[in-house]
């Protein structure tokens, strides 16, 4: 069939001077600029576009919008392949490639169609009743078959090559939908001076105005829409966002401003996005007021063969004829239950398309409509319905039942109009319930979210005149509510149109399958079965038959299904109720919700002031929260990390090493009550700490378990600086602010994080003093007497303020030196230079870890949120003289139980053997059961000083078991190892090295 077989020679909003070529299932076709893929396919005479989910029935194009259940295709190829793309909203572009889905080997000949023959078995929920024996077969046989058969399009496993972006917008009035109601609302709000955002999912605004032959102020609706758009664009504070779907309404605040989620399809109409442009942009729009003008979706009618290609919603037929200049059929019929459907008759006739018959379910049809049919010599059947449509790859005949008489009429297209469902989803996203309208026999918005109003078809007012009137009023009212009152409310003259209709869902008994949910192949029979088996609530019906769970979320199917259930169970439709709409209104790409937060940009990266220097000395970094820290500094010739780390440890213990400790949290705490405050958050006392001194502190949660530890220095009478672990810095800050603002607001305490202000380096080892004397000798006396262990000082060095602390995590004589971060790079280089004569080395987090384990210092693996001060051997720190957060509940029986696992050291009996953290302790000979569990290994290291693997662990009654032998049981990693319980302090137990 030639490309333009079904293309009208004139009319519509397509640009016939701009032909676009595309392929479908490899076949080349061409359409025009302004086409959707669906209109281009219809224009090219393509009727069958896909296969259905379960029975693999050939399916065509039902609609012209986002409600499309049938015409889903795989768009694009390779890493850009998009399954389940609705042809009806996919904008045509040069070189577009699309493929049909859910068929093999080809769309025309699909083996899966065998399911259609088995359809007597494949009824709703059939799989719940079988595939149970033998149980082992499920994963191996049944499930793989079902999974392959199910699903629609094929997704790629390649990484999405396109960018996504997020953006924020704020406005007084958000208008959702750019049809007549939305444009009218925007005009009245815009003229009043309000900040307006108007979003429309289509690529041209105007909505039905572009699809109907209706007039406003004497000119065509489409022309009026162009003029309205031009005026709106002339307002500085009005923003029109085409290709943008408002998909969700979320909670608001006291001001009434509400957050809406919207998706802008920036580049989906292009082969690939332009440079620096994302594929899509997720908008978070905060609007003081919103006007919902999203229109309505036409309903099909349930009759035999109603899913066959060529059966189309009447409104879609008009859209294709009027907007796209396409003839969906050569000889058509119209099946309607209201005046609205009759528009199709005149539009088809005007386009020179034959209309064989109009079938109206009503007995009394307005004479004017009958006359119109007469004019085009179309046969009219009133009080009648279509019982069946024939033609598997495109209908060629319909059977009409009028009374007890059946007539057959040959047609290649059938326009169906069963009434309209308002697009009210956004009114229910935040809890509103829809209300049943007898007037239009559909659910309309009920209680509206605060600040939202509804205009036009979205509210159930289906005529053009009402859309404009309500839109203008809603826009003006919303503008006034945000302080832009006074502007007069515009009004417009429109041509006549009527929406009178009678509810009609289901024609009753049919000779062939009658579909309710096209995409999921849910038939009237399935609804009846659900009713029979007791799945009568709309939610159970939905879950049992999958009615309304397809990619269209039941936009064309749910109400028909509920109406049939209502009839079967002798209830009214409002009694049966409706399911709740959930965001998103239409499906949204997961990539859009992620924006640019993927790959390395998933989370921000925090780099210390010494990072550039570190990069020059190692490539090995480890994530510590959001920080990157050097893990070790390999040297040429070293074979593995263990060799490098051991070398670093030995260097520190024999001479000196330097480690960047800037990532530890630092909190500046000042105020007359700073000391008293610290006494309440630490288990030990700080108010008595002398100025110029540092003390180790331990902090509990109020439930009595350990929260964090660190050193706190007293810099002045009312000035302390606290350090926290890297991992808990933010948590501790929040905890302290809670204590300061909520628990004890009466205290005079001020605090702020200074983690970022200071670059801080640990200089450790026997030579550390001499190293630092080389740097600071002229500004401070570092002798043991002048600056002993746990001293601190503030200095000015080379014109820069510097803080010096005599503290040690390694157990060696050690210092930490802090300097304003902009000088951090210079300082580390200066330290390394000064250290050369001592063979000082930089060391990373691994060596740091080895040395703290050698010293039995606890860290993250021990501070795991389930340990008490006692468990960690720090119980004695808990001051009896004062209260502190966590003191009372730390006395609960479960927390002081002597059987609690408590900190110990362990070494393998075979000194060469390796240990693994996470191994559980078992008494020798005891069975490996949870009942016999004695505790577990928390941290492991290879100690170059002890020349063997050592570990810290938590062992039931640990301190009393030094010298005992146990099994370290680790079936998932490393196997079993016999170990000996020892003191957790492996190296220099007397701590003499601290003092140098």
């Amino acid at each position: 069939m030639s490309d333009s077989a079904h293309r009208l020679t004139e009319g519509g909003l397509i640009d016939r001077r701009k032909p676009l070529s595309f392929t479908f299932d490899g076949q080349p076709y061409s359409g025009f600029d302004g086409d959707t893929l669906a209109s281009a396919l219809l224009g090219a005479g393509v009727k069958v576009v896909g296969r259905s989910f379960k029975y693999h029935r050939p399916r065509g194009i039902l609609s012209a919008g986002c409600e499309e259940p049938n015409a889903l295709v795989e768009l694009r190829t390779g890493a850009r392949r998009e399954p389940n793309t609705r042809a009806t909203v996919a904008e045509l572009y040069e070189g577009l490639e699309a493929r049909s889905q859910n068929r093999w080997p080809s769309l025309a000949l699909d083996v899966g169609a065998i399911n259609s023959l088995l359809s007597p078995i494949f009824v709703a929920g059939f799989y719940y009743k079988t595939f149970m024996w033998p149980a082992a077969f499920w994963e191996k046989v049944y499930e793989p078959l079902i999974r392959r058969a199910a699903g629609l399009g094929m997704a790629t496993h390649e990484a999405d090559p396109d960018r996504y972006e997020k953006a924020h917008a704020f406005c007084d009035v958000l208008i959702i939908g750019g049809g007549p109601a939305g444009l009218a609302a925007a005009l009245s709000a815009g003229r009043a001076g309000a900040r307006v955002i108007l979003c429309d999912e289509d690529f041209v605004v105007g909505g039905r105005l572009n699809a109907e032959r209706l007039e406003i102020e004497g000119s065509s609706g489409a022309d009026w829409a162009r003029r309205a758009e031009a005026e709106l664009r002339s307002f500085g504070d009005v923003r029109i966002m085409p290709r943008t779907t408002v998909f969700g309404a979320y909670d608001s605040g006291i001001s009434g401003a509400r957050t809406f989620g919207a998706l802008e399809r920036v580049s989906d109409h292009l082969r690939v996005p332009a440079p620096h442009q994302p594929r899509q942009r997720l908008w978070k729009i905060v609007a003081s007021r919103a006007v919902l003008a999203a229109g309505a979706v036409e309903r099909p009618i349930v009759f035999g063969g109603n899913d066959r290609p060529g059966v189309m919603l009447a409104s879609a037929v008009r859209t294709y004829v009027n907007r796209f200049g396409v003839a969906p059929a050569r000889q058509a019929a119209v099946f309607t239950s209201g005046d609205d459907g009759w528009k199709t008759l005149s539009d088809l006739a005007a386009a020179g398309i034959g209309v064989a018959a109009v079938i109206d379910a009503r007995n009394d049809v307005p004479p004017a409509l009958l006359a119109a049919a007469q004019r085009v010599s179309a046969r009219v059947f009133t009080g009648a319905h279509v019982a069946d449509a024939r033609g598997s790859h495109g209908i060629h005949r319909i059977s009409i039942r009028a009374g007890n008489r059946i007539e057959h009429v040959d047609v290649d297209g059938l326009a169906v109009s069963g009434g309209w469902n308002p697009c009210a989803a956004l009114t229910t996203h935040v809890g509103g319930r829809p209300r049943w309208s007898e007037t239009i026999s559909a659910f309309v918005p009920g209680d509206l979210p605060a600040g939202m109003s509804v205009a036009g078809a979205a509210g159930g007012s289906l005529t053009l005149e009402a859309a404009l009137r309500e839109g203008a009023a809603a826009g003006a009212e919303a503008a006034a509510a945000t302080g832009f009152a006074g502007a007069e409310i515009p009004s417009w003259r429109t041509s006549e149109d009527s929406a009178a209709a009678r509810p009609f869902w289901h024609v009753g008994e049919c000779p062939s399958k009658a579909f309710v949910d096209f995409q999921h192949d849910v038939t009237d029979g399935d609804i009846a079965l659900a009713a029979r088996e007791g799945y009568r609530s709309v939610e159970l019906l939905k879950r049992y038959t999958t009615l309304g769970m397809a990619t269209d979320q039941g936009k064309t199917s749910s109400l028909n299904g509920h109406a049939i259930m209502a009839a079967l169970t002798e209830r009214s439709i409002p009694e049966v109720g409706t399911t709740t709409a959930r965001p998103p209104y239409t499906p949204v790409a997961i990539g859009a919700f992620a924006g640019h937060h993927r790959g390395k940009e998933f989370k921000p990266t925090r780099l210390t002031a010494g990072h550039a220097w570190a990069r020059q000395n190692t490539e090995v970094f480890v994530e510590a929260g959001q920080w990157l820290r050097a893990q070790w500094f390999p040297r040429p010739g070293e074979h593995d990390w263990l060799e490098s780390v051991s070398r670093e440890v030995k260097a520190v213990r024999s001479s000196a090493g330097v480690c960047d400790v800037s990532t530890l949290g630092k909190i500046d705490i000042q105020g007359a009550d700073a000391g008293a405050f610290l006494d309440r958050v630490y288990i030990n006392t700080f108010s008595t700490l002398p100025m110029g001194k540092v003390r180790y502190g331990l902090m509990l949660r109020e439930d009595g378990f350990v929260m964090d530890d660190g050193t706190t220095a007293r810099l002045g009478e009312t000035h302390y600086v606290m350090s926290t672990t890297t991992a808990n810095a933010a948590k501790v800050m929040q905890h302290l602010e809670h204590a300061r603002q909520v628990l004890w607001p009466e205290l005079d305490v001020q605090m702020v994080s200074v983690t970022e202000q200071w670059a801080q380096y640990a200089v450790a080892g026997p030579s550390s003093r001499r190293l630092l004397e080389g740097l600071l000798g002229d500004v401070i006396d570092l002798s043991n007497t002048a600056f002993p262990y746990l001293a601190c000082a503030q200095l000015a060095w080379r014109g820069v303020p510097v803080r010096l602390f005599r503290i040690s995590f390694s157990g060696e004589m050690a210092y930490e030196i802090a300097i304003p971060a902009r000088h951090g790079d210079a300082l580390i280089r200066a330290i390394m230079t000064a250290g050369q004569e001592f063979g000082a080395v930089p060391y990373g987090t691994e060596a740091l870890g080895v040395m703290r384990i050698e010293k039995g210092h606890v860290a993250g693996n021990e501070l795991n949120g389930t340990t008490t001060a006692g468990d960690l051997g720090l119980g004695r720190m808990l001051s009896k003289k004062k209260d502190c957060i966590g003191r009372v509940l730390s006395g609960r029986p479960g927390l002081i139980d002597p059987d609690r696992p408590t900190l110990v050291g362990v070494r393998p009996v075979d000194r060469k053997a390796r240990l693994h953290a996470g191994a559980h302790f078992l008494n020798l000979g005891a069975a490996a059961t949870l009942e016999n569990d004695q505790g577990y290994i928390t941290s492991v290291a290879y100690s170059p000083m002890l020349e063997g693997w050592i570990a810290l662990g938590l062992l039931a009654r640990g301190p009393s078991r030094h010298g005992e032998r146990l099994l370290a049981h680790s079936p998932v990693r490393g196997g079993d190892t016999e170990v000996e319980v020892v003191s957790p302090i492996f190296f220099d137990p007397e701590g003499t090295r601290l003092h140098g």
Partner: protein
């Protein structure tokens, strides 16, 4: 005393133009002296008086910025301000601590934050991709201050008087985040063209 110690801007080696054009211009504010100043209990009035005498500045009661000459105070929390002085360096905090001794707690943040000045015809469009706050001229006026979150990073932003008909904003982020922040900014601003201006 030995020669002064080398200093390194958090944005050094990062600020390179992206895309075509000058929709947005970024300027490194390295050297800006910054300090947080929090009032001691019961000293609000005395502190205001001291700041008035010292800097001829009225301490703002809310999230706004009051400036005189090269010094400014931006309200960042109840009873807490971010004080700044052009090219003030670390010395600014020290002098501020002295002049408000006993009335407030002062903490040097000159190195804690990396500060960028952003301007240009498309600066609002670019910032809309980062900041979840309303930057419309009516909503965020000259002198307005806000602490918020941009692309998972804490940021404090304030608006300076327009220059050359374009709005001017300064954004302060934790120093360690300078690289991630620049990447996020550059990715969003690329379509408008991100240029780099001379430090001021």
């Amino acid at each position: 005393m030995a020669e002064s110690l080398a200093s390194r801007s958090a944005f050094s080696c990062l600020l390179v133009a992206v895309g075509n054009g000058r929709g947005v211009t970024a300027i490194d504010r390295d050297g800006l002296g910054l300090a947080t100043i929090a009032v001691r209990k019961g000293s609000r009035n005395a502190l205001s008086q001291r700041i008035r005498d010292e800097f001829r500045i009225e301490l703002p009661g809310g999230p706004t910025r009051a400036a005189a000459g090269e010094v400014a105070f931006a309200g960042i929390a109840p009873g807490s301000w971010l004080a700044m002085r052009d090219q003030g360096g670390n010395a600014f905090a020290a002098s501020l601590a002295q002049s408000t001794a006993g009335l407030a707690s002062v903490t040097d943040q000159s190195d804690g934050y990396a500060v960028l000045r952003l301007t240009g015809p498309m600066v609002r469009a670019a910032l809309a991709k980062l900041l979840p706050i309303d930057l419309h001229p009516r909503a965020f006026q000259v002198g307005a201050v806000a602490s918020t979150v941009a692309s998972h990073m804490g940021v404090t932003v304030w608006r300076l008087p327009d220059t050359g008909g374009a709005a001017v904003f300064e954004l302060a982020v934790f120093r360690s985040l300078a690289e991630s922040f620049w990447h996020a900014l550059a990715e969003g601003a690329a379509e408008f063209g991100l240029a780099v201006g001379r430090p001021c």
